[in-house]
Symmetry: C2
Subunit: 417 residues, 2 copies
Amino acid sequence: MHEFAYKRDQLCCEGLPVKDLAKKFATPLYVYSAKTVLDHFLKIKKAFAPLKPLICYSVKANSNLSILKLLVDKGAGLDIVSGGELYRAQKVKCLAKKVVYASVGKTVKEIKDAIEYGILMFNVESAPELERINDIAAELNRRVDVALRVNLDISPKTHAYIKTAKKETKFGMEPDLAKDILINQRCYPNLNMKGVHIHIGSQITEARPCVDAIKKIKALIKEVKAQGVILEYLNIGGGLGIIYDKERPQTAAKFARKVLPLLKSISLKVILEPGRFIVGNAGILVTKVLYVKNTIQKKFIIIDAGMNDLIRPSLYQAHHTIVPLSLYRRKTKGTSKKADIVGPICESADFLGKERDLDAKVGDYLAVLGAGAYGFVMSSNYNSRPRVAEVLVKGKEVKLVRKRETYKDLVAKEIIV
Amino acid sequence: MHEFAYKRDQLCCEGLPVKDLAKKFATPLYVYSAKTVLDHFLKIKKAFAPLKPLICYSVKANSNLSILKLLVDKGAGLDIVSGGELYRAQKVKCLAKKVVYASVGKTVKEIKDAIEYGILMFNVESAPELERINDIAAELNRRVDVALRVNLDISPKTHAYIKTAKKETKFGMEPDLAKDILINQRCYPNLNMKGVHIHIGSQITEARPCVDAIKKIKALIKEVKAQGVILEYLNIGGGLGIIYDKERPQTAAKFARKVLPLLKSISLKVILEPGRFIVGNAGILVTKVLYVKNTIQKKFIIIDAGMNDLIRPSLYQAHHTIVPLSLYRRKTKGTSKKADIVGPICESADFLGKERDLDAKVGDYLAVLGAGAYGFVMSSNYNSRPRVAEVLVKGKEVKLVRKRETYKDLVAKEIIV
């Protein structure tokens, strides 16, 4: 469910015609619905209420400060993966004790900054990283809380690029190694081993792989408990899928029903890290048709947004539904060829949709749906295209939350020699 | 050939140890060799000297202003694809009459700006675009020079994402349409139809598809000439491949030998648009090893550069050779597992090399070779990672040509509401 719907043939965001935003802020434009963001957050909160989990929104999905603030103000914590995301957490004044930090490549400086901010814990991905955090903690004369990320060798049905718990991926530690470390944690005198972390991937639409993962980690927790290891947290990561096309993903409630009994039986504090589930359907990319080009073979709807604005179609072969902002009645139907919706960038990777039933004429506005997660955050200046503006709709209010870049911005860091 | 070579076991750029640059400017870092850039430009210039072509460097491959200036100062023109690239051309004071402009999605403002700058010509990709340029020219009371980009339905051996002349791609016009327009050019009273443009794709390692394309366009030119159409330019685009791995691409000289007789027989002024060929091997991405992680299955060399810095491996499955900056003798050999070289970003798409014979320890510096083209220009702030610095080596001089972004830069355009 989301707050983008037609009202008198006009696509609206929380009741406001998106076309008015396109005219006011120009295109391409990311438009987010605050209500959709919060609804999804509350859905998870409600579904897992019996456990009172800490819900750490996954900043990497959409890191716009105003989106973060919305969630933090409602009590969300943040799941960060870099020093830049730590900086963002600080900017929106997220309580340090609600920040968890995962990444296989934390630098010394990033670790120090996070310790100094006083984050809840690091999700540690390897033994060398554990040693490094221990050393830095010793140097700072601190004891630091960590969870071990365990790689359970589970393969959910999703794109290979966003599976994160197969043993051939770079993430987490093998279960035997994690057990060994937990049992011998005295070797890390400056660390408190507070928990275990599992995260099997992104855009997962069924509960089974998660249930399998939780069962596996339950067994591991039991084993180490028998050896006297006391844990406080189980972080089950994120990964809840959304509807992009014809997926029928589980709801938060349905997912919770499947995993709640299991989680209760483990009796640890639970941390969740939803990202895409919260923001994925809360954002659209608004674009204008520049040209319609008919060839004998094909129809091309050439738009002003490109792969630099939204790379998911070319990088992950991801499907995004594309709809007109205004529905106009057609006199004839079934006569038009299927269309490729392509951008202005000079390579064939630059498409947002292929073989679509979509009719459009020059000057029409289109909306690329489901663009709230991994949309703007992955955008680039490829082909020297300024990055676009982001707008947040919040009831009757419309706020520019990121200004459009200018040509001058493109070269601001460059020095001609 | 390029200017990155080992000297006393240290990888050097134009004789300077790259390690010194890594220490001075920190990592990740793009390092370019001015000599390599110019050598490649001169190779093309020399190979095609009998034709005295206009060589328009393809800005999209690497748009750093200092790289552009290097080339423009040696007489190169520029091949641009957007208003942002037009802005860059102006910044480096490229003669307007050496600028050609291709793109399937030129906006009204971009067309106006380019007309006002007085560029040599537009490479026009569709009939609707032709009409638009004609209308704008009329409005500005100008006559504007254009070439028609012809889609010859030719499929070179390269990645599907960078083939640009199959009839199912968005580029150019079908030959029959182009002929029709040329013959009836009086319908566009504000345009001078000065030429035809063909560009079949990028990273092409053999002459045959180009020869085929030129033969096809020669036939078209002959046909329209018979109808009284006078053309002045033939733009054969770019696409010359480079060595990333085990490719054995044609040299500029060898390519020229294959196409020169054909081009001479056409008797038009020739335009070339090399990009990757000039800068591809003139740049490397320097990175530091953050962790080495051994699992039962695999070895992971975790580096401080990620897919946000260089997306070619995950987007195009591109191979980049990765080498250490310092060669150190190993006591034992053949004992180490093959390694995946991966970045700190939280997804499995974040790799720069897979299954490599590479030994490295924490703190080692590595160089990702062949990163001069489609490297920095495609980089993003994904995972809130500041974009890296770019450095140009020019003989004994080392110049910072783009400053590293800071955390503050990440949020400079954002507004918290």
